[in-house]
């Protein structure tokens, strides 16, 4: 039965796959074909040497499109879960739910990987046909390393999106989850760090293995682009330490997401479709956490600017609660949690500011 269902879903997705493929390839081809990759040399008056430079490649274009597809496609593929009519139709069919999720995920992956592969190699072929000084092995390595990263991002986004009972909630979950960990890391950094001294995780953009910019969902793919672009243009500029820590962490997160998607989601109550998204992975934990983190991150700015940021955080947080409950009339429990998060966030941010002036909590 799974084969028949796969065949049905595959036929149904042929046109969307084709559209995705054409869009990704056309964008990549336009960016690549209009570039000038010819190496340039110029005389440096200061050093008296001839400088030889290779312009940047367009490696980033298909990979960024790949990341965007790994963001959008899981939401499109799993939005069926948020439509009670679609749930009625699909769940009454003679196929187990885990197989439905598996088939949907495979179809989504096929769509993304085909579009990415065609657009990536179009970029490589067009680049090769133009005058250039690139190291082409860098492209090949970039392609093969990007596949498992994309697989992980797809699984992560699919799992997080599927925690919601409504499409809008799912989109909000995916966006918040993409950034909340980095926000938390910066927050912790701010608590324990000093303005002049050392930091526990390293500063933003540091080469340290635990630097805050490693904790975005898209960090692995962004760092892959930087690393491989430098290889392609023959530069030694990029030298981060122990990238494996980040890759191991996100690899485990990606694997756990896939396991959760296929094993845990089918156990969810089908009647939750279109209801308020009350998952513990969702607003319940995310909103207070994000509000507190946002206050902490903005805690080191000057007082007037901080007040503006605080106002924005309070309004945005309140709006998110309204979106969550789909009503301006919040329950007392929500008001208490929201107010508590705001109070705790503001208190901690002032504590961070105070500690910073005294050399930090730990250093």
């Amino acid at each position: 039965m799974m084969k028949k269902y796969f065949s049905y879903e595959f036929k149904k997705s042929l046109i969307p796959v084709l559209v995705l493929l054409v869009m990704a390839t056309v964008i990549t081809v336009i960016f690549t074909a209009t570039a000038n990759f010819a190496p340039r040399s110029w005389f440096n008056d200061w050093t008296g040497e001839m400088i030889y430079t290779i312009p940047p490649s367009r490696l980033s274009v298909p990979i960024i499109l790949f990341a965007i597809m790994c963001f959008v496609v899981p939401m499109v593929v799993f939005s069926f879960k948020m439509n009670s009519r679609q749930i009625d139709s699909l769940y009454s069919m003679s196929i187990k739910r885990c197989k439905i999720y598996l088939v949907k995920a495979i179809i989504g992956l096929i769509a993304v990987f085909i579009a990415y592969t065609v657009s990536f190699w179009s970029m490589v072929i067009i680049t090769a046909a133009m005058p250039n000084g690139f190291v082409f092995s860098g492209f090949v390595v970039a392609y093969f390393l990007s596949l498992p990263i994309g697989f992980g991002i797809f699984g992560f986004n699919a799992f997080v999106f599927s925690r919601a009972n409504r499409v809008l909630d799912g989109v909000i979950f995916v966006i918040i989850y993409s950034t909340v960990l980095a926000l938390l890391m910066v927050s912790i950094n701010n608590i324990v760090a000093t303005r002049v001294g050392g930091t526990i995780f390293g500063r933003w953009g540091d080469t340290s293995p635990l630097a805050p910019n490693r904790w975005f969902v898209y960090s692995p793919i962004a760092l892959l682009i930087s690393r491989q672009e430098n290889i392609v243009v023959g530069s030694n500029f990029f030298s981060p330490e122990n990238l494996w820590v980040m890759y191991l962490f996100w690899g485990l997160v990606g694997a756990a997401s896939w396991v959760g998607l296929i094993l845990l989601l089918p156990r969810e109550k089908s009647e939750n479709a279109e209801m308020i998204s009350n998952s513990k992975f969702g607003y319940i934990v995310l909103l207070p956490l994000t509000i507190i983190s946002a206050f902490l991150v903005s805690g080191l700015d000057s007082i007037p600017f901080r007040l503006i940021l605080f106002s924005i955080i309070i309004v945005a947080g309140g709006l998110l609660y309204v979106v969550y409950k789909r009503s301006f009339k919040l329950k007392l429990a929500d008001i208490i949690v929201f107010t508590g998060a705001v109070a705790l966030g503001i208190g901690l941010s002032f504590l961070v500011s105070y500690l910073s002036n005294w050399g930090g909590l730990l250093f």
Partner: protein, 289 residues
């Protein structure tokens, strides 16, 4: 045979079904009736394996339907509002059913012709009744052993109803068990041989539609004076008065009730036939129409 055993389902704090029990015989045309919110659609979704019961089970030939691929392949659920994508045509919608059922194109096109539908037209241009007709044709062509229909009469015009009823008769001959949840009591009376009346959470009454009428008596009685409900001396489910004429519906032995009515010296006693809709109202605790 379908067995509903101690079936319970709640939506957070709201109890939709509580310890529900009844059986649906093989090859029967079974009606599920009840007021809005009585749990008809919840029951059908549980029977179709769309939802998981909090407690109890739905057994098809002794096997639990939930996540049971084999039994679900024998069962087709046609919900109140079947899903279709915004760009779907009548033809493309059939693909899903072709993937899961032994779909018979000749049956499908026979009903498409009878219903006068163009299956190449986008479904967004179909009226409610046209969509309903399309899905009825799909249901018949899928040839399930068990057919679960939710509010299937909605939007069907008299001609389409006739075609639909003839289609059901064909299924009856083939031994298909049909379960219909509907508000259209008069239609159910015509089609169904047995029924369950949901009163919200539980089954208030179940059995053969024919036998149930025997339990209820309905009389029009004329007196030479005005009579009150209390003067009757027996329990009545409904009591209507229009001057010296009363109309009552009650449960019990016909002889005993007539004996008590005779004591009041009526001028005329006329026993009336009760229909399914009145039976529903009486069973649901309402007034006889």
């Amino acid at each position: 045979m379908i067995e509903i055993k101690n079936l319970s389902k709640s939506y957070e704090k709201f109890v939709a079904l509580d310890q529900m029990n009844f059986k649906i015989e093989k090859g029967s045309m079974f009606g599920i009736v009840g007021i809005n919110g009585a749990g008809k659609s919840t029951l059908l979704r549980l029977m179709a394996g769309v939802m998981k019961a909090d407690a109890g089970e739905v057994l098809f030939d002794g096997e639990n339907i939930y996540e049971n691929e084999k039994k679900k392949s024998e069962c087709l659920f046609l919900p109140d509002e079947p899903f279709f994508s915004p760009i779907a045509s009548g033809k493309s919608v059939t693909q899903l059913y072709k993937a899961f059922y032994d779909f018979d194109d000749s049956i499908f096109y026979k009903y498409i012709d009878l219903f006068g539908l163009d299956i190449n037209t986008p479904l967004k241009n179909f009226s409610k009744g046209m969509k309903r007709r399309l899905f009825v044709a799909i249901a018949f062509a899928s040839r399930p052993k068990y057919l679960l229909l939710d509010e299937v009469f909605d939007g069907l015009d008299p001609m389409a109803r006739l075609v639909f009823k003839e289609g059901l008769n064909t299924l009856r001959v083939l031994g298909t068990t049909v379960v219909i949840a509907s508000h259209s009591l008069r239609e159910l009376e015509e089609i169904c041989d047995s029924y369950a009346l949901l009163d919200g959470k539980r089954v208030a009454r179940t059995g053969s539609t024919k036998n149930q009428y025997d339990n209820y008596l309905k009389f029009n009685i004329a007196f030479d004076r005005e009579i009150t409900r209390e003067e009757l001396g027996f329990l009545v489910q409904s009591f209507e008065t229009s001057g010296r004429i009363i109309r009552i519906a009650c449960v019990g032995s016909k002889e005993e009730i007539l004996e008590k009515i005779t004591l009041l010296k009526p001028l005329i006693v006329d026993q009336m036939n009760i229909d399914f809709e009145e039976l529903f109202h009486l069973s649901a605790g309402g007034q006889c129409v």
